[in-house]
C-alpha cells in the first residue's frame, strides 16, 4: 500500500480566497485508520498591500483561541540586519502556520509552507503540529522582507482532526496551491 495519498488539492481560483478548507472533498478526513499522519504543502501569496502576512491553521472549524498555542524560531529582515530569535504565544486565532509575501513584494514570488500533523486521528491526545516555512525575496524592493521559520503548534483538544482550515492575513492570490496528504504507517 502506498504510504502517501493525496486527500485534497486546492488551487486557488480567480479572485482569491480568504481561507482554504482542507478535508476530503467536502467530507471529513477519515479517522478510521486510513491514514496515520497528515502533511500540508502550500505555495501561496497574499493579495493585500503588504510585504508579509501570516497564516493561521485551525481544526474542525474550532475558533476557540485558548486552544491554540505556538512556539517558534525565526529570522527575518526588512532591509536591515537579522538575527534568529524565538518566541511563543499561549493563545491565538489558530496555530501559527507560516509567513507569506504580499503584493508589495516583487510579483510572482510565492512563499512555501510544509506542515506535519502526526497521529491526527487519535481521540486521546492534544494535537501537535510542526511547521517549516520560507518567505523568500529577490531583494529588489526598497523595503524588502524575507523570513525563515520553524513553528511548534499545539491544538489543546483531543478530538480527531476531520478538517484543517488555513486562513491568511488577507486573501490568498489566484494560483496559490494547497495540498493535503494522508500518510500511512506500516
Amino acid at each position: 500500500m502506498a504510504a502517501f495519498t493525496v486527500i485534497e488539492h486546492v488551487p486557488v481560483g480567480a479572485g482569491g480566497v480568504a481561507a482554504v478548507v482542507l478535508d476530503d472533498g467536502g467530507s471529513s478526513i477519515p479517522v478510521d485508520g486510513t491514514y496515520d499522519h497528515l502533511l500540508i504543502l502550500a505555495s501561496f501569496r497574499y493579495t493585500a498591500s503588504t510585504y508579509a502576512g501570516e497564516n493561521r491553521l485551525t481544526f474542525n472549524g474550532v475558533s476557540t483561541t485558548t486552544e491554540y498555542s505556538s512556539t517558534w524560531l525565526d529570522v527575518s529582515e526588512a532591509g536591515g540586519s537579522s538575527a534568529p530569535a524565538s518566541d511563543n504565544e499561549t493563545s491565538g486565532a489558530g496555530v501559527r502556520a507560516g509567513s507569506g509575501a504580499g503584493v508589495d513584494q516583487t510579483a510572482n514570488i510565492y512563499s512555501v509552507v510544509k506542515i506535519w500533523i502526526p497521529h491526527f486521528a487519535n481521540s486521546a491526545n492534544y494535537k501537535q503540529v510542526f511547521t517549516q516555512n520560507i518567505m523568500a525575496s529577490d531583494d529588489s524592493t526598497t523595503d524588502y522582507y524575507w523570513t525563515l521559520k520553524v513553528i511548534a503548534g499545539l491544538w489543546a483538544n483531543t478530538a480527531a482532526i476531520t478538517s484543517c482550515t488555513m486562513t491568511g492575513s488577507s486573501n490568498y492570490t489566484e494560483t496559490s496551491t494547497f495540498t493535503l496528504y494522508g500518510v500511512k504507517g506500516a
Binding site: 524560531l73 529570522v75 534568529p84 512555501v112 496528504y181
Partner: protein
C-alpha cells in the same frame, strides 16, 4: 499512481563537480531532493550549490538566484540574506567538508514547490545539517529563489562556489510529488 515517485538517483563513484538532472517531467506538482553530501572544500560544513534551467536549455548562469538562511553551529545562531548570486548558495548548506572525518556526509532535504508553474518564480526550501565538527557542526533552514517564472526542467548541483568537487559517495535522489 504513487504520490511520491523517484525520478532519478545519482551516486558518485568518483569525485565530481556536477550532478545534473535533465528533462525533468512536467507532470508532478512538486519536486524534492534528498541528499547525502560531502565536499572537497577545506571546511567543516559547507554548501552545495544549485542552478536551474527551463525550456530545454542549459541552466541559468546569470545572477538571478537569491536565498536566505537561519542556522546554528554549536551555541551560535546566524541568519542572513544571500543577495543576487549566480547560483543558489544557501538552500543546500549542509555538506560536510574536508576538515571532518572522511566517513561523514551531511544530509538534507530540498523541496521545490510548483516547479512546473509558468507564473511563479521558483522557490525552494531546504533543511539539513552536519552533526560533527570541532567548531562548525551545522544545522539550518534555508530558502532559495530563482528569479525566473519558467518551468524547471533541469537541476544542476555542484560544490562550494559552483566549482568544488563533490566527494565520491555523495548521493542525490530527485522525487516527484503528485497532487492527485
Amino acid at each position: 499512481m504513487a504520490v511520491i515517485e523517484a525520478i532519478a538517483t545519482t551516486y558518485l563513484e568518483a569525485d565530481d563537480a556536477l550532478i545534473e538532472f535533465t528533462s525533468i517531467p512536467q507532470t508532478y506538482e512538486h519536486l524534492q531532493l534528498r541528499i547525502s553530501v560531502r565536499d572537497v572544500t577545506v571546511a567543516e560544513s559547507i554548501e552545495m550549490t544549485i542552478r536551474l534551467g527551463t525550456g530545454g536549455g542549459a541552466v541559468d548562469t546569470g545572477s538571478n538566484y537569491y536565498g536566505d538562511r537561519m542556522a546554528g553551529y554549536k551555541t551560535t545562531e546566524v541568519g542572513g540574506a544571500g543577495g543576487a548570486r549566480a547560483y543558489l548558495k544557501y538552500v543546500a548548506q549542509f555538506a560536510s567538508g574536508a576538515d571532518v572525518p572522511s566517513p561523514q556526509y551531511g544530509a538534507g532535504v530540498v523541496d521545490i514547490l510548483d516547479y512546473a508553474s509558468a507564473t511563479k518564480m521558483t522557490t525552494a526550501m531546504g533543511c539539513g545539517g552536519t552533526a560533527v565538527g570541532a567548531s562548525y557542526p551545522w544545522v539550518g533552514l534555508n530558502s532559495g529563489l530563482w528569479s525566473n517564472t519558467g518551468a524547471v526542467d533541469r537541476i544542476a548541483i555542484s560544490g562550494y562556489g559552483y566549482a568544488a568537487n563533490l566527494v565520491r559517495g555523495t548521493c542525490v535522489t530527485l522525487y516527484g510529488l503528485n497532487s492527485s
